[in-house]
Subunit: 201 residues, 3 copies
């Protein structure tokens, strides 16, 4: 089923993004695997926790874990001089992963009859949570909070799903495509949300 | 009941504190909401986790979430030049929140017949946990661990409640007031706990 | 039973390591206790979460908590000029703790019939998780991800236990000794895993 495929692509993309950042930070091979796995599964772990599903359910996704491990291995072995290009592809897959995981997280929460707030939070955390944990482990400020519009698209997916506008597969695919494209546009054209700076007192 | 009111004030105060720090760190509007919500509810999430209550119970506090969202919106829209004053009020509300949440956390743990250690930890984490997560997401060292006496007041509340000294509402109010005042005094007069510096080897 | 003793030594060692880092970072006495406790119990908390055991089970280990509190107190009161030596002993106990906790975590996961992946992750997180949380709270990059071979030994313990090679007490003791010695050798002779640096794009 196509949904599994999307989910697999998301897992792969996030695993790759974690592995690349670990290599940028000069982690050893163990750190590369750890950061790849955490990025791919961290968002789902936090979501399960917040919506009351056992975190240990993650272990039933054996195929996803194998996909992540294979992806990280390929990134680690990949020829050096092509990695700049990987980084560009990484952003593309990351957008797909954000979109697929946000929609999954929202559907998960809707099935449990959680209120709108919880559905939106589940979408945001499943889509962006892995990246937040990744950045904190890598000693970086979580970029997702500062740069081009990112988690808002996940929130939008959660909102649309929670108000029952989108339920059948066809509309889910359209939503998935729209969120992915909007994220890529945000990144390409540096769309930003308003912010207000205040001076520390 | 007054207890709900105190809890609401605590939620509002922590939400405001998170929003202010997010603006100091130049997060966009999404980051401001995220940090406000995390500061207001993070402590409770960690506490639930540690004392064996489902974290998803947080979603039943719909009114609290609405209060937090409204508070953050007001902070974001607030006129720039008054924000210095907000910061001062933020410390005041933060003290109230620390006190109210520490007492709540301790009572929660006592109801579950947990040992003294767990009650003290629940008080400390509910009172200060949101701020610790807030500082880590903002890329700051958790200030609560370094500056004027803070979490110790939460620990004291937990200890007094766990040894059964304080149970009826009247004494709880006195404890709440005392903890709030002690925290404000700590901040105003820069009370510090002893520390011992050792040189890294 | 000797297993309890090893576990106690691990708890003591991690509590000491957290307390020493807190003092290096100039935390106050409260911060010293907090970081000591978090280092000693954080790994187990994350493991319980991931393998579906209630985190609150930690509170049943009252003796361990008391041991940790006493250890931290002794470190805090210890004469200044001897602390350099403590640091050296800290590494020794840390190796014991890593080994004992990794084996415990793996056995825990095996009892729950979790797949190999989960057993290895449980071993790694129980052995190294407390130190990762410690470093993040102290505002340091998690050293375990960068320096001499560390968590890999925990992963190896998990792997050996999960494939049923090692189950009876005698082999567990041999494994415990081997992991401890390998970690000490890694540290002493600066064994490192391969790493690949890529330039940030």
């Amino acid at each position: 089923m196509a949904w599994e495929v999307l989910s697999a692509i998301g897992t792969i993309a996030f695993a790759i993004s974690g592995a690349i950042i670990a290599m940028e930070e000069e982690f050893d091979i163990f750190g590369v695997y750890l950061l790849g796995i955490v990025t791919a599964f961290g968002g789902g772990a936090v979501r399960n926790l917040l919506i009351g599903v056992p975190v240990s359910n993650l272990w039933e996704q054996e195929m996803m874990i194998q996909l992540a491990l294979v992806s990280i291995t390929l990134v680690f072995l990949f020829p050096h001089r092509l990695l700049g290009q990987w980084n560009r592809w990484g952003h593309f897959f990351d957008a797909i992963g954000l979109s697929a995981f946000a929609i999954q997280g929202a559907l998960h929460a809707v099935e449990l009859n959680l209120p709108v707030y919880a559905v939106v939070v589940a979408a945001v955390l499943t889509g962006s949570g892995g990246g937040i944990i990744r950045d904190m482990l890598a000693g970086r400020k979580p970029l997702v909070l500062k740069v081009e519009i990112y988690a808002v698209w996940a929130a939008m997916a959660g909102l649309l799903i929670s108000v029952d506008l989108i339920r059948n597969d066809f509309y889910l695919y359209i939503l998935f495509t729209a969120i992915t494209v909007l994220r890529i546009l945000s990144y390409t054209y540096k769309w930003r949300l308003p912010s207000r700076k205040i001076t520390s007192v």
